[in-house]
Amino acid sequence: MDAIRIENLTKEYKDTVAVDNLSFTVAQGELFSLLGVNGAGKTTTIKMLSCLTLPTAGDAFLHGKSICKESAAVKAMVGVSPQETAVAPGLTVYENLELICGLYGLKKDARKERIDEIVASLRLEKMLRKKAGKLSGGWQRRLSIAMALISHPRILFLDEPTLGLDVIARSELWDLIRSLKGKTTILLTTHYMEEAEALSDRVAIMKDGRLLICDTPAGIKNAAGKESFGDAFIHIVKEGGAL
């Protein structure tokens, strides 16, 4: 069974079509990236898949559960790291992680073990007792990602996870994302071409809500006839998918 199956997903706002008849599938354990310039519909797609907003038409199935009809089951299996850092500012790093554990129903004795695991993975040890609101942007983003991972989601949505991170933090996060490949299905949006190419099994490029191409990074370079992935992306977006 596909981890994500999207069928003719459409989202319209008043006079704008944010996502237009989108269809693709993501296999279990796959790292799938959504690329596109601003306004391409990437974040709206993630919002629909994480049950934040209902589609105007179409449906998507996460491990067979409909985002329209079975939102509770979908919510229980996904983790979301939004584009902006989403942390509780008055709580410490530890309390933020504990909060998410509680919301996903983790038993108290299992919480500490899980928190220790994720804290070690993201090297948050020194920050544990600090209030999230007092952390720098980079540390807040790390915490935000830790909060998305802590519930052991079957499907993880990472909306521009490395935005605002320094080179070292980005490299560490890449390592973490790579370590999840095969175990957790990841849908990632990013503006960094090298990130998409380095991490992704497959990439979908969107423009004006429509899917232009969906293939492996190498397949996309071949289709565009370009040496670099960045050039291939620019070529495809400028051509508007006329490949």
Partner: protein, 243 residues
């Protein structure tokens, strides 16, 4: 369980804000002692402690409105609420999670207010316990207003509307600082049509042991509390869907 986890987070956020203690507890106490000092130095009956304390106890609740409205609007303004919408928390969990933490705070605030009044000469009777008990329906009204404002206003607007406008309106129209008969006319009619004076008269009646006189005021308070909470829940759910 999930709701309690969320309510726990809200309690921590509220109690860790120094403004909560300063305004929620300090300001009503300052008013109580200041106005009692004025009363001690004037020959006419202006701020008798058994008349003043219920008014101050109710006035203090307007800060609970401010705190709940600010917390909700801040959560709405950040990405945190969007993240929480992707967790298994239900609409009911959100509403109870924002409402329940304020109730014990309101009771604690009223209790401290009445205890402080004992030092100013308030007589110790069993009615004190009833006065604290009857603060609960009044609290629901003020929490409802907070939930309502938090659902539609930004945190800056909530600060202005709840911190500036509501605290003043609730104070002037409550008959705490002056007898409404002294102004009379349209002012008195408007004050009587709103719940604030009824909340104060309910507390005054209960404290004095005049339960039959207090009862009609209870219906006013409960009526407004139910209407406000219903409107607040409707608006909260609407903005939740919009997210």
């Amino acid at each position: 369980m999930r709701m309690l986890t969320f309510a726990g987070r809200n309690t921590k956020e509220l109690l860790r804000d120094p403004l909560t203690l300063a305004f929620g507890l300090g300001f009503p106490l300052v008013l109580l002692f200041l106005l009692s000092a004025i009363q001690a130095n004037v020959p006419v009956s202006l701020f008798e402690v058994e008349h003043l304390t219920p008014g101050v106890a109710v006035f203090g609740l307007s800060f609970m409105t401010l705190f709940s409205a600010t917390l909700i609007s801040k959560d709405r303004g950040s990405s945190l609420l969007r993240r929480l919408y992707t967790t298994p928390l239900t609409s009911l969990d959100f509403i109870l999670g924002y409402t329940l933490p304020i109730l014990p705070m309101a009771v604690a605030q009223a209790t401290i207010c009445y205890l402080a009044a004992l030092f100013l000469g308030l007589e110790v009777t069993v009615n004190l316990l009833f006065a604290i008990l009857f603060i609960l329906p009044v609290s629901l009204l003020y929490i409802g207003i907070g939930l309502l404002c938090g659902s539609v206003l930004t945190d800056k607007q909530a600060g202005g509307v709840c911190g500036g406008l509501l605290t003043n309106l609730a104070a002037w129209l409550s008959g705490t600082w002056f007898d409404l008969d002294l102004v009379g006319g349209a002012f008195k009619t408007i004050a009587n049509a709103l719940p604030f004076v009824h909340a104060v008269e309910l507390e005054r009646g209960v404290l004095a042991g005049n339960f039959s006189e207090a009862l009609p005021h209870l219906w006013w308070v409960l009526g407004y509390a139910v209407l406000t909470l219903a409107a607040a829940v409707g608006l909260f759910l609407r903005q939740m869907k919009r997210q």
